[in-house]
């Protein structure tokens, strides 16, 4: 009887099996990487309505974060300051600067400025700034070195896995409470010992259960 298929088709099952593995493995890998906030969100740097420079204010001028974000230690939210906070200085400093037109306008009309939010957690995730600060987690652990950013950039993925990484092993992010806003702080060589000590002192037990964040 004549052959129905040419000889190369003998290799077809192997090719199909391998390409099947490749497609499934590749598909999972594709979504794992390209679908993750690490790829999609890190590096987000929108143009704000006012060219406010954190580098100038927090870096060069050395202002403390809490001068503007003044509720951060007592509230779940690190508030965006009202225009009044800007005007504390800018009634006297460069009141006529072109860059500040939007600020002046908001100040005279009383209409709040529409800043664009960079660090946005989903509404089903509960997060409390004050609790993290009290445990000794510095601003820079999540927001990066803001003092060197001309425009605020998202530097961490802020995915659930990223949160859990720190909740499972927070040691490297626990600082003395007076170093919270220090952008240049690096963990000392004996950080593990220090962390063990403060975890006991401050009773730090980072929760890993679902309802810690999804309440």
């Amino acid at each position: 009887m004549a052959q129905i298929f040419p000889k190369w088709t003998n290799r077809l099952p192997l090719i199909m099996a391998l390409s099947g593995l490749l497609v499934v493995g590749g598909g999972v890998g594709f979504f794992w990487y390209y679908g993750s906030p690490k790829y999609l969100e890190v590096g987000y740097r929108p143009e704000q309505p006012v060219p406010y420079s954190h580098k100038l204010h927090a870096g060069d001028l050395g202002m403390d974060c809490r001068y503007c974000h003044n509720f951060v230690e007592v509230s779940h939210e690190a508030n965006v300051p009202p225009i009044q906070t800007c005007m504390n200085c800018h009634t006297l400093i460069k009141p006529n600067s072109e860059k500040l037109v939007a600020i002046q306008e908001s100040w005279t009309t009383g209409r709040p400025l529409q800043w664009i939010r960079v660090h946005k957690l989903p509404e089903y995730a509960y997060f409390d700034h004050s609790a993290h600060l009290r445990a000794g987690v510095g601003c820079a652990s999540c927001h990066g070195n803001v003092a060197e950013m001309e425009k605020i950039t998202k530097v961490e993925p802020m995915s659930m896995g990223w949160c859990l990484d720190c909740h499972r092993d927070p040691d490297m992010h626990l600082r003395p409470l007076d170093q919270i806003t220090n952008m240049k702080w690096v963990p000392p060589p004996n950080q593990r010992e220090y962390a063990a000590k403060v975890k006991k002192e401050r009773n730090i037990l980072p929760p890993e259960n679902c309802s810690a964040c999804h309440r």
Binding site: M1, I4, F5, N10, P13, V28, W32, G35, S36, P37, K38, P157, S159, M160, G161, W162, L164, D165
Partner: protein, 475 residues
């Protein structure tokens, strides 16, 4: 000699396993012809009918995804309604195939050869229907991939301590192994169809699926070994799948679910319902496709005996459940079972008992066991009863749980009913496709149980009517 005693017993019964004394050629001929003749009008009508029902099922699933599980009659505390009832029902049906193909193969029961092919096909289609329901009953289908351990940005894995996850793996494994087993058995028959094919397309399609089978000695040696290994792999699965399905209930703390008897009880029930479904389909198929000489009264009677035995097991489980509920001294446990038998779902409970325990007792009588109308009715009633068994377990336990203020009577909606009927549409659509395109009886295996296949068989010197086996059993 034990083997020859068995052979004599077969001959005493019906002469041979296969009636009508066919030759190898007539076996190929009568079974291959079913898929080679022009498609009949009746097939088109039936296919049109069942595939329309299957389409309604698909449309209902679409609406379910759009609207959410609220379209079902679910209402806390009954958060598991017909979707889970149907799931367990279909998985149960899917049990007979592997039992017939694997366990009866390992136990060297040659009568399985006539029914194993379509019993396995039925298994696969039933598991497809079963697999649909857990997939769609999750409220958020777009995250159904959470059921599988895939890497993700949430560092989140399925709960490996949950029987619901074991279920995904148990049913997945069962489906894969059943499919492989079925396909392996099909290869020699697909090659037969390829060799008989007239058109080029037919040759190419059957040829591709026959994987280059040539029927050589070496081919057969590999085939027999692979089949034996797969049978060995599939055998524990027959017991494990429904045990794991029963863990979905037994591992929880709900009175009426939290019972150690569940795994064996579920497995017995699954075999019971599976055989009943094989019976229903076999009775129709042998009549329609004229294969009554392959599926003989002996096959039907054997299946009826299994139905009777498993019915007794199920009946035993029902009574032991009640006994243990009383013996436990636990008032909640007692209430759960008392409520089943006398509460708002008593009608469902007694339907179940009647269909599953009382009706199959007619098979004690040999005359009933061999009456086709009787076994047809019984096989359908058994499956009605088995559906109600799952309904009673799922719904009655949930509806009257720990908080009497939230008790209520579960009412199915049109979508509950529609999806049950729809799943039957899907099942029969697939089954009709199978009957149309694949050999419904394992030709190669049937040939092996013919007397001619026996090494000790010798051609008669007379007119060919007295062909007989002198010694040994069927191959």
């Amino acid at each position: 000699m034990k083997a020859s005693a068995e052979t004599t017993a077969l001959q005493a019964e019906d002469g041979q396993l296969i009636a009508g004394n066919p030759t190898f050629h007539t076996v190929s001929e009568s079974i291959s012809r079913i898929v080679e003749v022009k498609t009949t009008k009746a097939w088109y009508v039936l296919f049109g009918f069942f595939s329309s029902i299957a389409l309604i099922f698909v449309a209902m699933i679409g609406y379910l995804f759009w609207e959410g599980v609220g379209i079902w009659g679910l209402q806390i505390p009954v958060a598991w309604g017909w979707a889970i009832v149907n799931f367990v029902f279909w998985v149960g049906i899917g049990h007979a195939g592997t039992l017939i193909s694997a366990i009866l193969f390992l136990l060297r029961q040659p009568w399985r050869t006539s029914i194993n092919r379509f019993a396995e096909a039925m298994t696969i289609f039933a598991v497809i229907c079963a697999g649909t329901f857990p997939g769609i009953h999750v409220g958020r289908v777009w995250v159904a991939y959470y059921m599988f351990p895939l890497p993700n940005q949430m560092s989140m894995w399925p709960n490996f301590r949950s029987p619901l996850l074991w279920d995904v793996f148990a049913v997945g494994t069962y489906f894969t192994v059943s499919l492989l087993f079925w396909y392996t058995g099909l290869i020699p028959d697909l090659a037969t169809l390829r060799d008989r094919a007239k058109s080029k397309i037919r040759k190419a399609i059957y040829g591709a699926f026959a994987l280059g089978w040539r029927g050589s000695h070496r081919n057969w040696q590999h085939y027999e070994l692979a089949y034996l290994l797969l049978a060995g792999l599939a055998t524990p699965l027959v017991l494990s799948v429904h045990s794991v399905v029963s863990f979905d209930f037994a591992v929880s703390n709900l009175p009426g679910w939290h019972t150690t008897i569940f795994p064996p009880y579920f497995v017995a029930g699954a075999i019971f319902s599976g055989f009943a479904m094989v019976m229903t389909l076999a009775l129709i198929a042998r009549k329609v496709y004229n294969v009554e000489n392959f599926i003989t009264m002996r096959h039907l009677e054997n299946m009826n005996k299994i139905i009777l035995v498993t019915s007794l097991m199920v009946g035993y489980a029902y009574s032991i459940e009640l006994f243990v509920a009383w013996y436990s001294g636990n008032p909640f446990e007692r209430f759960a079972f008392w409520n089943r038998a006398t509460g708002p779902y008593a009608w469902a409970y007694w339907t179940m008992v009647t269909c599953n325990v009382i009706v199959p007792q007619v098979f004690w009588s040999r005359r009933m066991r061999r009456s086709i109308p009787v076994m047809f009715v019984v096989s359908i009633l058994v499956n009605v009863g088995m559906w109600f068994e799952r309904f009673v377990i799922v719904v009655s336990s949930l509806a009257n749980d720990f908080l009497p203020s939230s008790w209520h009577y579960f009412k199915p909606t049109i979508f509950d009913v529609g999806m049950l009927i729809g799943s039957f549409g899907l099942f029969f659509t697939l089954f009709l496709l199978f009957l149309r395109f694949l050999p419904m009886i394992a030709m190669a295996e049937v040939k092996a149980v013919l007397p001619q296949a026996n090494p000790h068989y010798y051609e008669p010197h007379g007119n060919g009517k007295e062909a007989s086996v002198k010694a040994g059993s069927h191959a």
